[in-house]
Symmetry: C2
Amino acid sequence: MAVYTDINEVDLKAFLAQYETGDLLSFKGIAEGVENSNFLLHTTKGALILTLYEKRVEKTDLPFFLGLMHHLADRGLNCPLPLPRRDGALLGELSGRPAALISFLEGMWLRKPEANHCGAVGRALAEMHLKAEGFALARPNALSVPGWQALWAKAKDRADEVQPGLSEEISGELELLARSWPESLPAGVIHADLFPDNVFFIGDALSGLIDFYFACNDFLAYDLAISLNAWCFEKDGSYNLTKGKAMIEGYVAVRPLSDEELAALPLLARGAALRFFLTRLYDWLTTPAGALVVKKDPLEYLRKLRFHAKAQSAADYGLFV
Amino acid sequence: MAVYTDINEVDLKAFLAQYETGDLLSFKGIAEGVENSNFLLHTTKGALILTLYEKRVEKTDLPFFLGLMHHLADRGLNCPLPLPRRDGALLGELSGRPAALISFLEGMWLRKPEANHCGAVGRALAEMHLKAEGFALARPNALSVPGWQALWAKAKDRADEVQPGLSEEISGELELLARSWPESLPAGVIHADLFPDNVFFIGDALSGLIDFYFACNDFLAYDLAISLNAWCFEKDGSYNLTKGKAMIEGYVAVRPLSDEELAALPLLARGAALRFFLTRLYDWLTTPAGALVVKKDPLEYLRKLRFHAKAQSAADYGLFV
């Protein structure tokens, strides 16, 4: 949860004057998102989200993120739509931060998703992949193999503080993944962070995807591997085959996976687990004790990593079972 | 800012089934209130606030707070209205916490209030005092002289850590205030915490008062003294006579102050400054470094206390100037 930057009514009024919105009725800082400050605005024309981009987001990446949301929403994907200012720009400035005004998407993220929800997420992810085709901008994935190696170089020496033996185990994983990571698979724009808090439902119906601030170009099946990690493990660390099967079948119903993609699934899932393990480990080691952010346990992803290391094929994830 | 307790969609659905609300469309934890967890809900019938009462609020006080809001809203004060459940109760339970569903009040609190806003606050405070008449319940002010003494007993030994000499100065203040605190002045239900974040405006028009969780029975003019402290000092520590004059004149336009109340104003303001100094000092000394709460500087209220100690009459606050 986070509101890093407060805003005042004088600056907000001047900011909103650049847009065609209704009159402002209220704004509340909301406890969602860990990278940016978000406010929920009520206006006489409806609800909006105001996002202030904090320093963890590269300003040069914002045209990619905002342009992608615009591209996807234009093609009918349910996702937040950045509103243009009167001068056409999607990005403004408020309280010294780059800031955007974005349509408010009704729906809530599920703390307790079931298999049917995982199926809906698989379908929506595949739809996003198809609808992203033709988007003019590109953004390399800074958190693929070279990014993992850079993070590990900064965290390795202190990894055994978190759990003895971690340094050796992760070094081995990273070597194996660097050696065997696929060179070519169907690629495109991926969401790269489709965790439960980024998918909204109204009742049991998926109402939209949010938070495209990790989106980038990479293998499409890697995005599915990230989502399997994020949705299909239980709190006790066990993989839920029913949820995994639902998610993969939901995905392939919209965008079939090639034999190469299916064969690569265990390796992609292993890499995805390592990616979240590494960023969590780095944050764990570097976030000061007094920070307003709840630190996420890196060891959750170590357990997932070990599951993937033992998996043989897509069947271990629920497909064709 | 605070969301101390998260809620899940399963428990929330069961909670809402006890009320006559529309269908739930979304809920967001909001970064307002330091005592409780607050969520902004959108339903097909409009917006609502869901409050989970955390342990700093005494559960036995909740009927007073919720009943007061109901009483005031019934009499036409713009304030949040607790919704009754189907069984008539104003209070339920969610995620192991006492919880209430409350009407959403549009408006925003001013980070940069001007004198005209202070005038509106004075009028609204007096209206609240008049409309609270006849409310059946009572709640003694736990933060009057005996409460200050109890807080000071717990903080005194460490006060000089915050600023050398503080222990002696505050002990003297407390003795003087205990000796000279008024024995009888017009009394009733006071808000007791009418800071800028508890007053909403739409444009320049006051749209309502919120957060009655410090409300109690005490001298009415003491409530005005609290608000003068909260609204009429500038960031540099100076008292703004124009704002003070506007607030007092706004108040007396609705509820005239007696000669005794006017004469007591410097002393009441001094006590109010000491009250906020002491709770801030106590929080400063006891809040752990890693807590999700921003600690407020007690010395801001030491400076205000010194201003009041020098004041001679209501004229020093802007009245009859």
